[in-house]
Amino acid sequence: MEKRNLIKISDLSAAEIDDMIALANDIIANPDDYAEACKRKKLATLFFEPSTRTRLSFEAAMLDLGGNVLGFSEASSSSVSKGESVADTIRVVGNYADIIAMRHPKEGAPAVAAAKSIVPIINAGDGGHFHPTQTLTDLLTISREKGRLSDLTVGLCGDLQFGRTVHSLIEAMLRYDNIKFVLISPEELKVPDYIIEKIKDAGAKYKEVTKMEDVMSELDILYMTRVQKERFFNEEDYVRLKDTYILDPEKMAMAKDDMIVMHPLPRVNEISVEVDSDPRACYFEQTLNGKFIRMALILTLLGLDKNGKKTA
């Protein structure tokens, strides 16, 4: 089987994503069937930038498949701190692991890794660029909560410029019919032009607004994001923009009864804790879905079935 990587969500066809969602649903329904699917296989988690949540999700996924994990959780505990290149690190780790999940602060780093690696590379986030496994998590969550991936009005709110989860989700949702995007952000954090071009090219509807209240009643999904401090070069800009949007019970009262609230987490102030008890809040279910879809992804990229046998 040819080596497969997941660098950006468009590396997967719509049919492959549908298959992966179906596989994740089967894992959720029958977890014991998959408990030894990756026996004697190793996942390396190379986190050149810390992200406890994503790393633990990958590691939990591999452990639940009966595999093992190794790796590092920040660049200072790897040879990168000695000046080693991404390409060299990957060549070395490829000798020790069967599959690699990597997060790196530089945009495009996983593409460099994929070009050099002998084992599959999963992009676990590259700077403000892409985060495809979060997108798979989001798609699984939408599919389970809404029962469909088409005919939806999707509100994306917060940092839409540096928010890579937003960019990947838009790209993925463009493949489904009748999706309308409502892009809610301050002027300074609008969706980059190249993403807008993709929306236009796909013929999807979209609008850009600055006030959340104006659009709450239209949404089937509200996807909140955090304004990320680490993406700013200037502290003043971060302080000025960080609390632009706060979802609270008052705003939730304006929304449809079946709207769902999603968030890639961690949150800071953008969703008040009072919203947690609202049945429409599903960001914690989302993190659990993240583990299941990563299990499906690992199996798919390794080309293994539930018995650990190579698929065709």
Binding site: S85, A87, K106, A109, A111, V112, G127, G128, Y194
Partner: protein
């Protein structure tokens, strides 16, 4: 001003005035052992002024570089004093190691030994996109 004609070699003609040295550097013509003449601000009936580069040997040229710098350039191939081929260049679909990504967050800003790759995304406005970080760059 007299400069010997090329008997067997290449003439890069109709270069936008002022761009010849950029081409000289990008094509690494300083590394050639043959004669190379750079003519700046030559008279042009079409453009008023133009630059010309004459290379006194038949070498492999990266036409993508020429197309990127100035798509009006013509490449005259001369053999035994006769023009045997006139090539027109175009804005290339891909650029490798011609321009650098200016995004400080791009992996190419720190990783050594990787090619700087761009793809053309907007021919009309001459816009290229970095293959690693997707940030766009307009060709001047």
């Amino acid at each position: 001003m007299n400069i010997d004609g090329v008997t067997t070699g290449i003439v890069l003609d109709h270069i936008q005035a002022g761009k010849s040295m950029q081409i000289y550097k990008l094509l690494e013509l300083d590394k050639l052992s043959c004669s190379v003449a750079v003519v700046q601000n030559a008279r042009s009936t079409k453009y008023g002024k133009k630059d010309i580069i004459k290379i006194d040997a038949l070498i492999d040229l990266d036409l993508d570089v020429l197309g990127y710098v100035d798509s009006n350039i013509t490449v005259d191939i001369i053999k035994d004093g006769k023009l045997i081929e006139k090539k027109h260049v175009a804005l290339p679909e891909k650029l490798t190691n011609v321009i650098k990504c200016k995004n400080p967050r791009c992996i190419t800003s720190t990783e050594q030994g990787i090619d700087q790759k761009f793809v053309l995304v907007d021919k009309e406005n001459k816009v290229y996109r970095c293959c690693y970080c997707d940030v766009e760059r307009k060709v001047q």
